[in-house]
C-alpha cells in the first residue's frame, strides 16, 4: 500500500482529548501527599542581600520548609548555557536562587513549601528580607555608561559583542554612490504561553529516583543539568512531558524553578508542585526582542545593495540564560535576510540590565532584523525614487546562487548556508495573490477619515537545528506500532504529524499507529526536543531511519522462522510473506523494536513574503489591518492544515509585537506591566483579515523528508511590513516609524510631529 498521509490535512489525534477538556497539563497532576511551593521574589531590581530571616515562617501551621541559598551546600548551582556556551558568558550565568545580590524584580529569594498555595502565599509575608538597594540599570545606555555594575568583578556590563562579516564593508561604503544611516528600536515582549509554567517533582528516597513532570522543549538537556546540580546519576531522573500549553521558545528552557522544585521535593521527602501565576510569569519567564540598532546601507543608483554595516545593542536583562545569546547572535548574522549583500559587517553587543533575563522567542533576532532592514529598504526606495517591489526583487538572492553562504559570525563560529528556494517566484506569488497591482493605488489615500497604506516584505526562517534526533518504533502485541520520539510537543500537533510520517513509511493505515510518545526521557536513548522549528524535520527524518531498521529486524526474524534469506521476505500492510506461501502477521513479531537517528549540521531555510494593507486614523493613531497575506514556501508539507495553523498563529503573535505587546519598566527597574490588563495580547476581534498561503516548491535537499522548519515564518515579517504600511499610509505627514510597538500614542505623536514640521 502506498499511503499518502504525508501532505494531507489529517485531523489531529490530540484534539480528541483537548476538545473534551481531557488534556493533562502539569497543574492537573495531584499525587497523594502533594505539597505546594510558592516563591518569594525580589521586589528590588538591584540590591545587596543583607539578611534573610525565615525563622518565624517555618513555625507557621501548614509550612513544611523554607528554602534559601543557605540550604544549598556549596552555594546555589548555576544554570549553564545550552546554546553558545562560551566561557565569556559563564560569570553572567544565573544561580538557581539569589545569594548575595538580587539583579531583577522577580528573582527568586526563597521557596516556601506548604500544604496549600494559599498557606504558602500567606507565609511569604512572614519572611524578613533585608536588601540594601543599589541604583538600577534599566536600559542599554545606562548599562553602557558603566558606573552601575551588575557584576562588579567583571568590571563592565557588556557580556559579549558578536560580529558577522563578509566582503569588505568599509571599502564598499567608501566607494558607494548612495548611503543612508538610520536608528531603530524594537520593544520588549515575550513568548507568553497561555498555560503558565509549572514543575512537579517526586523523590523516592528508597531508590534514589527523581521524577519531574512539566518538562517541555528540551527534557534531555535539562535532565543532564539537573543530574549534575543534584549530584545524581542521569538515569535516576525521569523527565515527564505532559500536555504543554504553548512553547514559543520560552517554555521548557532550564529555569531556576527547574532546580528549586526537585530540590524541595528531596528536602521535604514529599511530592512538591509549583505553578507559576500570571504575575510571576510576566517577571520570570524569559523576555525577548528589546534591541536598538544603528545601521547603514550603501547602494548603487539603480538600487543594487552594495553593503550593510551596523551595530546593535541588545537589552539582555540580568543574567545570561540558557539560550540568551541566540537573538543577539542572529541579529548580527541575519541582518541581510533573504537579500544578496556582498559586503556586510554587523556587530551586536549584549548589555546586562536589571530586568528579567532574555531568551528566545519565536523568530529570535529575525523579527528584530526584519523590522530594521525592511524599514531601511522602504526608505532607500523613497530616496532613490525606486519601486519598493522592484528594489526587493533586484536584491533577492537568485535561485541560481543556491546554496548561498551566510556571513561568517564570531565568536562561536558556525558556517551556515541557505539550502534552497526561488525567492523572486515566491515574492511574485505573494503580490499576485494579494492583488498588489490594484491595491497599491490606494497608497496614502484618505478615505472616510482613514489613510490607506501598503507594504510588502521578504524573510527567511531558519529551522531544523541539529545535531541529532532519535526515534524508536515498537511492534505491539496486537500488531500495531508505537512511535517513540525525542522531539517534544508544545502544541504543534506532533502526535498527528509523526503518525502520518510513520504510517507512510511503514506502509500501514494510520490507525495502526497506536500512539506517538514524545518528549519524555524514558522513551528513547537520547533526544534533543523542540526548538528552532526542528521537531518535525529532525524527528521525522529519524523516524524514516527507524522504519528501515525495523524492517530489517522483521526480515531477519522472519527469515529465521521461514528458513529463508532476509532478502526473500516481503513486508506489506497485510503482513509478512516469505517464499513458498509462508506468512506471518505483524503481531507475531510483537516486542521487536528499532531505533533510528538523524544527524544534521546544516539548517533548512524556509522563505516567504508578506503583504499588508492597513488603514490609520491619524486623529487617534489607530491602525487597522484591512488585509494581510503571508506566503511561505516551507519545503515538503506534512500536514497543510497544521502548517497553515503555524503561520497564522505566529503571524498574530507578530502583529501583537508590532502593535500591542510591550513589557515596560521604569527607571528603577520596576516592571510596570504585571498583569494581562497591562500587557496587551491580541484578541479575537483585533485581526480578522489574515490569509496564509503555504507552498512546497522547494523541498529541502538536506533531509530525507524534504521538509523545512515552519513554525516561525508568520512572525518574522510582521513588524517590518506593518511599520512600512503605516509609513506608506502617513506619507503626507512624513511619518517614518523607527520604534515598535506602534501603539496609538506613538503613531499619534509621529503624526503630530509631522504636522508641526510641515
Amino acid at each position: 500500500m502506498r499511503n499518502s498521509f504525508v501532505g494531507s490535512p489529517v485531523e489531529r489525534r490530540e484534539d480528541l482529548r483537548f476538545v473534551r477538556g481531557r488534556g493533562q497539563y502539569v497543574d492537573d497532576l495531584n499525587p497523594d501527599g502533594l505539597l505546594h511551593a510558592v516563591i518569594l521574589r525580589s521586589s528590588f531590581a538591584h540590591g545587596r542581600i543583607r539578611s534573610i530571616d525565615a525563622s518565624a515562617t517555618v513555625k507557621l501551621a501548614g509550612v513544611h520548609a523554607v528554602i534559601t541559598a543557605r540550604d544549598m551546600p556549596g552555594g546555589p548551582p548555576r544554570i549553564p548555557m545550552r546554546l553558545q556556551p562560551l566561557p565569556e558568558f559563564m560569570p553572567f550565568e544565573q544561580g538557581v536562587i539569589a545569594d548575595t545580590k538580587v539583579r531583577y524584580v522577580g528573582e527568586p529569594i526563597a521557596v516556601v513549601v506548604a500544604t496549600s498555595v494559599a498557606v504558602g502565599e500567606d507565609a511569604l509575608d512572614h519572611i524578613v528580607v533585608d536588601i540594601e538597594p543599589l541604583p538600577a540599570v534599566s536600559d542599554c545606555e545606562t548599562s553602557a555608561a558603566g558606573d552601575r555594575l551588575l557584576f562588579e568583578q567583571q568590571g563592565a556590563n557588556c557580556a559579549m559583542t558578536f560580529t558577522a562579516e563578509c566582503g569588505d564593508a568599509d571599502a564598499a561604503f567608501k566607494a558607494a554612490a548612495y548611503v543612508r544611516r538610520e536608528k531603530f528600536r524594537t520593544g520588549r515582549h515575550f513568548g507568553l504561553t497561555l498555560e503558565p509554567r509549572g514543575v512537579m517533582a517526586e523523590w523516592d528516597a528508597a531508590t534514589g529516583r527523581l521524577t519531574v513532570s512539566g518538562a517541555a522543549k528540551v527534557p534531555f538537556f535539562n535532565r543532564r543539568v539537573l543530574a549534575e546540580q543534584m549530584g545524581l546519576p542521569e538515569d535516576s531522573i525521569a523527565m515527564i512531558e505532559n500536555d504543554v500549553g504553548g512553547g514559543f521558545g520560552a517554555r521548557g528552557e532550564f529555569y531556576p524553578e527547574d532546580f528549586l522544585i526537585p530540590f524541595a521535593a528531596r528536602y521535604t521527602g514529599r511530592p512538591v508542585k509549583w505553578i507559576e501565576d500570571r504575575r510571576e510569569n510576566l517577571m520570570a519567564m524569559n523576555h525577548a526582542r528589546q534591541a536598538q540598532v544603528e545601521v547603514e546601507i550603501a547602494c548603487a543608483h539603480d538600487g543594487t545593495i552594495l553593503a550593510l554595516r551596523g551595530h546593535a545593542h541588545v537589552d539582555m536583562g540580568a543574567y545570561m540564560r540558557t539560550n540568551g545569546a541566540v537573538a543577539a547572535r542572529n541579529i548580527a548574522q541575519f541582518m541581510a535576510g533573504p537579500y544578496r549583500i556582498p559586503n556586510i559587517r554587523v556587530k551586536s553587543s549584549l548589555w546586562m540590565t536589571n530586568k528579567t533575563p532574555v531568551g528566545t522567542y519565536r523568530g529570535p533576532g529575525r523579527f528584530e532584523t526584519d523590522f530594521f532592514r525592511e524599514r531601511l529598504l522602504d526608505m532607500v526606495a523613497k530616496d532613490l525614487r525606486l519601486d519598493r517591489v522592484e528594489l526587493r526583487r533586484r536584491n533577492l538572492i537568485p535561485a541560481s546562487h543556491m546554496p548561498y553562504p551566510l556571513p561568517a559570525i564570531a565568536p562561536f563560529p558556525a558556517s551556515d548556508e541557505i539550502d534552497s528556494g526561488d525567492y523572486r517566484a515566491t515574492l511574485d506569488r505573494c503580490l499576485e495573490e494579494f492583488g498588489w497591482a490594484d491595491k497599491a493605488k490606494l497608497a496614502g489615500k484618505l478615505i472616510d477619515g482613514r489613510f490607506h497604506g501598503l507594504a510588502v516584505g521578504c524573510f527567511i526562517e531558519g529551522g531544523a537545528a541539529g545535531p541529532k534526533e532519535t526515534a524508536r518504533l515498537e511492534i505491539n502485541p496486537d500488531g500495531s506500532v508505537a512511535v517513540f520520539i525525542g522531539s517534544s510537543a508544545v502544541g504543534q500537533g506532533v502526535e498527528t504529524v509523526f503518525a502520518q510520517i510513520a504510517a507512510d513509511a511503514l506502509e500501514i493505515p494510520m490507525d495502526r499507529i497506536s500512539g506517538v510518545h514524545h518528549g519524555s526521557t524514558a522513551y528513547v536513548s537520547d533526544g534533543y526536543g523542540a526548538y528552532h522549528s526542528r521537531s518535525v524535520v529532525m524527528g521525522g527524518s529519524a523516524l524514516l531511519d527507524a522504519t528501515k531498521n525495523l524492517h530489517n529486524l522483521i526480515r531477519t526474524a522472519a527469515a529465521k522462522r521461514f528458513g529463508c534469506l532476509p532478502s526473500e521476505i516481503k513486508i506489506s500492510e497485510d503482513g509478512i510473506v516469505g517464499p513458498h506461501g509462508s506468512s506471518a502477521r505483524f503481531a507475531d513479531f510483537a516486542g521487536l523494536t528499532a531505533e533510528g537517528a538523524f544527524l544534521n549540521k546544516k539548517h533548512t531555510y524556509t522563505f516567504g513574503a508578506h503583504a499588508a494593507h492597513v488603514t490609520v486614523d491619524a486623529r487617534i493613531g489607530r491602525i487597522e489591518i484591512i488585509d494581510y497575506l503571508a506566503v511561505t514556501d516551507c519545503g515538503r508539507i506534512i500536514n497543510p492544515m497544521t502548517v497553515r495553523g503555524q503561520v497564522i498563529g505566529s503571524l498574530v503573535q507578530g502583529l501583537g509585537g508590532a502593535l500591542l505587546e510591550d513589557l515596560k519598566y521604569d527607571k528603577d527597574g520596576q516592571l510596570l506591566t504585571g498583569s494581562l490588563a497591562d500587557y496587551l495580547l491580541p484578541s479575537a476581534s483585533d485581526f480578522p483579515n489574515l490569509r496564509a498561503v503555504v507552498t512546497e516548491m522547494f523541498p529541502s535537499p538536506i533531509n530525507p523528508l524534504g521538509a523545512k522548519g515552519a513554525g516561525e515564518g508568520g512572525i518574522i515579517s510582521a513588524g517590518g511590513v506593518v511599520a512600512n504600511a503605516v509609513a506608506n499610509a502617513l506619507g503626507a505627514f512624513g511619518v517614518e516609524p523607527r520604534e515598535l510597538p506602534l501603539t496609538p500614542q506613538r503613531v499619534w505623536e509621529m503624526v503630530e510631529a509631522g504636522r508641526l514640521a510641515t
Binding site: 484534539d15 493533562q24 503558565p196 514559543f248 502544541g491 497544521t642 498563529g649 484578541s683 479575537a684 480578522p688
Partner: protein, 159 residues
C-alpha cells in the same frame, strides 16, 4: 465551610475555605481539571464555565457564591461516544493547537450559540474577544464556531 451545588447534573457537597475561588474548587476539590487557569484575574477566559446557563469566569467567583447554583463545565459538555458538533467543528477547522484555551473557548461558544444560533462573524469575534488564545491566531476558531451554528438551530428551521 460546607458548600452544595450541582455540577454537570450531579449534586455535590464540598468543604471549602471562604476565600477559595470557584475554579480552584472545581479543579482541585472536585478534580474537574478540564477548566483551566491562565491568569486568575479575569482577562484570559481559560476558566470559563456555565453558571446557571451563563458563561462566567470561575477565577473571579468565590466558590461559596455558587451555593445552590447549577454549574456546567467542559466535562459536562462532552461525552465518551462522539465529539459534539461544536467539538468536531473545532477539530475540523484546526481551531486547537496546545489545547489550553480550548475548554474555555468551547464553553463560551456553546453559551453564545445556545442563545444566538444565527450570530455572524463579528458577533462571534466580539464574544470570543474575552478569551485569549496564544496559538491559533483566532481565524480558525471563529470559522469553527460559525460552522457549528446549524447544530444549535431548532430542527424545524434546518434545511
Amino acid at each position: 465551610m460546607p458548600l452544595s451545588f450541582e455540577v454537570n447534573g450531579k449534586q455535590v457537597t464540598v468543604e471549602v475555605e471562604p476565600r477559595m475561588t470557584l475554579v480552584d474548587c472545581l479543579r482541585h476539590k472536585l478534580r474537574l481539571t478540564g477548566t483551566h487557569v491562565g491568569c486568575e484575574h479575569g482577562v484570559c477566559g481559560a476558566c470559563t464555565i456555565l453558571l446557571d446557563g451563563e458563561a462566567v469566569r470561575a477565577c473571579l467567583i468565590l466558590a461559596v457564591q455558587a451555593e445552590g447554583c447549577k454549574i456546567v463545565t467542559i466535562e459536562g459538555l462532552s461525552n465518551d461516544e462522539a465529539l459534539t458538533p461544536l467539538q468536531a467543528s473545532f477539530r475540523r477547522h484546526h481551531a486547537v493547537q496546545c489545547g489550553f484555551c480550548t475548554p474555555g473557548m468551547i464553553t463560551t461558544a456553546h453559551a453564545l450559540l445556545s442563545e444566538e444560533p444565527d450570530c455572524d462573524a463579528d458577533r462571534v469575534r466580539e464574544v470570543l474577544s474575552g478569551n485569549i488564545c496564544r496559538c491559533t491566531g483566532y481565524i480558525s476558531i471563529v470559522e469553527a464556531v460559525l460552522d457549528a451554528r446549524s447544530a444549535y438551530r431548532p430542527p424545524e428551521s434546518q434545511p
